[in-house]
């Protein structure tokens, strides 16, 4: 009999749970199990990992027998640009300073939207946002950040 995935969502979730569960068990192997009366650092994680693995298997099995909704369109571009903008912000924050990092985050992040155009309203908003962050977080809350980092000032 040929099995067919009838619920892609259950299948994906099953893989996710199973993956996390298996990783947890394998990693917890080295922690030291101890005994029930003296639980070692590996005891609870191994128990949870095994439970999660079972749930993952149950979800996988179910995906072959029960119909489910399709996963639907994935916002690849949105996910990639939002993540890229955030990571870029982290990378630029120290060397380039807060202002360039914010510009990068806002421009890269905003371009995740198909409706984003760098017209006057968006630019004005960006400037206001940067000014607000500089005032509140650096001047007000005293975050140890320079507005312009060594890359720019040197």
């Amino acid at each position: 009999m040929l099995l067919r995935i009838r619920s892609p969502k259950d299948f994906g979730a099953g893989l996710l749970y199973g993956g996390f569960g298996l990783t947890a068990i394998l990693m917890a192997w080295d922690f030291g199990m101890g005994s029930a009366s003296r639980m070692g650092p590996g005891y609870f994680p191994t128990a949870l990992g095994a439970l999660l693995l079972l749930i993952g298997i149950a979800s996988l099995v179910r995906s072959f027998f029960r119909d489910g909704k399709p996963i639907g369109a994935v916002a690849w571009k949105g996910a990639a640009l939002v993540t890229a903008g955030t990571v870029l912000f982290g990378l630029l924050l120290r060397p380039a300073g807060l202002v360039p990092a914010l510009v990068a985050l806002i421009l890269v992040g905003a371009s995740a939207s198909a409706r984003f155009r760098l017209e006057w309203r968006a630019s004005l908003l960006m400037l206001a946002l940067i000014a607000f962050c500089a005032l509140v977080f650096v001047k007000g809350l005293g975050l140890p950040l320079s507005l312009l980092g060594p890359w720019v000032t040197r």
Binding site: K9, D10, G12, A13, Y17, F20, G21, A24, A28, F31, G32, A36, S37, R38, M39, P41, F44, P45, L48, L51, L52, I55, G56, S59, R62, G68, I71, G72, V74, A75, K77, A79, V82, T83, T86, V87, F89, G90, L91, L93, R94, L98, L102, L105, I106, G109, A110, A112, S113, R115, A122, L125, M126, L129, C133, V136, F137, L141, L143, P144
Partner: protein
């Protein structure tokens, strides 16, 4: 009267200028994010947590709580005016509220929602004041085994009440429990799941997870469908409900408040479930049931009182037991810990001013919302028309800079990005992230109580069944699980969530 003394202490704390201003700021912010679709209280409170570091703990909690219940008001405003529920808890309000607005009764619908919420808020303030002392008293006699069983009950309740598939609810909780264990084991000093990164030795901050999953993940999900929202805005006229309206809203408000207070206490319950339950209840018992869906005032009054009651009642287990019943309460517990206060039954005894000040501030905040919201409706309506592509970069900026300010580490930013992707994947696979957050907060606590309970009884698990409190809690959990797994009830439950 002890109760009056407590409330007097609360008033003297909450009524200081600083606390009143932060309460006002909180409820206004809350209303604003309640109005804005795509930005919820969880992400907002997570973003603002670092900002509240400098404030005294009471003030910080008062403001964060204001954001939470303020969001319930804001969500219903947009639900009524433009049929766009800003929060999931106001989805049902849109059913009849929007129909009322289309019939030219927008003002009455808004006033009904405000009155219903205010009444529920007032009742819940007293409920917390009455229920908290005895509950804390009981909780102080809890041993490790009892605490463990209580957490099991909490998690089971959030499984039973979760809106999606049971299997996924359990899976997400276990995943959350596991993620909560990342970091150094307090007993042995072993680094667990740290991938040799020194940044992970202290564990993952729940703020990072909350901002990633509810902030970034939500943004990505919203970018899937960018079709412009059509806003058929109705003009607001005639705020004052008629005598007939008042007559018809009294019973639903009372029923909604009762239902909401009860469901709010249960983990996983809270505002959304309360409002859904109240709507179906009103539809069943009302003499005007034919009008439902066409602008029945009961359909606004019931759910609106229920969601506010549910939101506020969820503070009870958080304040008395130190156990969160929803992600917002998990964040509040985190806020307490960050301010050096150990959440649990001790809070009321050791920090009476904080406890009662927070309780009373909720009533003051509700008063603000009642008085201020109706005149400010013009502003809220303008906020709905802010296009999402201009809004989300700002959310992104506050998430990124907020998460950095937690411990001035870029690592947290990357971790948040990772959880953002994970949060989006969860959404695509139909896995609800809320139970994961509960598990995440409870994971380390559960392990510790389990370890202590077993250590005392030399590894015998019987201790969970021989202690009366623990045995009762476990029995309730077992019954609840069996009931939802019974096939007959299962279909009923699924039907209930279909509505």
């Amino acid at each position: 009267m002890e109760l009056l003394e407590h409330l007097a202490l609360g008033f003297s704390t909450a009524a200081s200028w600083a606390n009143i201003s932060y309460c006002l700021l909180g409820v206004l912010l809350g209303t604003a994010i309640g109005v804005l679709p795509g930005l919820g209280p969880v992400a907002t409170i997570a973003m603002l947590l670092p900002v509240t570091f400098g404030l005294p703990p009471v003030t910080a909690l008062i403001m964060l709580a204001g954001i939470f219940y303020g969001a319930q008001y804001g969500g219903s405003t947009t639900a009524i005016l433009v049929n766009l529920p800003g929060e999931s808890s106001s989805v049902v309000t849109a059913l009849d509220g929007y129909q009322m607005a289309r019939k030219g009764r927008a003002g009455v619908a808004l006033a009904t929602a405000a009155i219903a919420s205010f009444f529920a808020g007032t009742v819940c303030t007293f409920l917390i004041a009455l229920a908290a002392p005895p509950l804390s008293e009981i909780a102080l006699s809890f041993g490790p085994a009892d605490y463990f069983s209580l957490m099991v009950l909490g998690l089971v309740a959030s499984i039973v009440l979760a809106s999606g598939s049971l299997l996924h609810a359990i899976g997400m909780i276990v995943l959350g429990l596991l993620l909560g264990l990342i970091g150094t084991d307090v007993n042995s000093g072993t680094a667990r799941f740290s991938f040799d990164r020194p940044e992970l030795l202290d564990g993952v901050s729940f703020v990072v997870v909350a901002m990633g999953v509810f902030g970034l993940g939500e943004i990505i999900a919203n970018l899937e469908d960018e079709s412009p929202r059509s806003l058929a805005l109705t003009k607001v006229t005639g705020l004052m409900p008629s005598r007939e309206d008042f007559k018809r809203m009294i019973a639903p408000i009372l029923r909604g408040t009762t239902l909401g207070s009860f469901l709010g206490i249960l983990p996983g319950g809270g505002a959304m479930l309360s409002s859904f339950a109240a709507y179906s209840l009103e539809k069943k018992v009302s003499r005007h049931s034919a009008e439902f869906g066409q602008g029945a005032i009961e359909g606004v009054a019931g759910p609106e009182s229920a969601n506010n009651a549910g939101a506020q009642a969820s503070f009870i287990p958080m304040l008395t037991l130190g156990i969160p019943s929803n992600p917002v309460m998990a964040l509040m517990i985190g806020a307490l810990i960050m301010h050096g206060i150990q959440p649990g039954p001790g809070v009321m005894v050791e920090q009476p001013a904080l406890f009662w000040g927070l309780v009373v501030s909720m009533w003051i905040g509700n008063l603000f919302l009642l008085v201020l919201n109706l005149p400010l409706i013009g502003i809220w309506v303008k906020m709905i028309s802010v296009p999402y592509h201009l809004l989300f970069p700002a959310i992104l900026v506050f998430c990124a800079i907020g998460v950095f300010s937690l411990s001035n580490a870029q690592f947290d930013i990357y971790l948040m990005a990772l959880f953002g992707i994970l949060g989006y994947v969860f959404r695509k696979l139909g896995c609800e992230p809320a139970p994961m957050m509960l598990g995440f907060i409870l994971g380390p606590m559960m392990e510790e109580y389990l370890r202590r309970a077993l250590l005392m009884k030399k590894g015998s698990a019987m201790v969970f069944f021989t202690r009366p409190i623990s045995a009762t809690l476990l029995a309730i959990s077992a019954i609840a699980l069996v009931i939802v797994l019974l096939p007959a009830l299962r279909t009923k439950r699924e039907e209930a969530f279909q509505k």
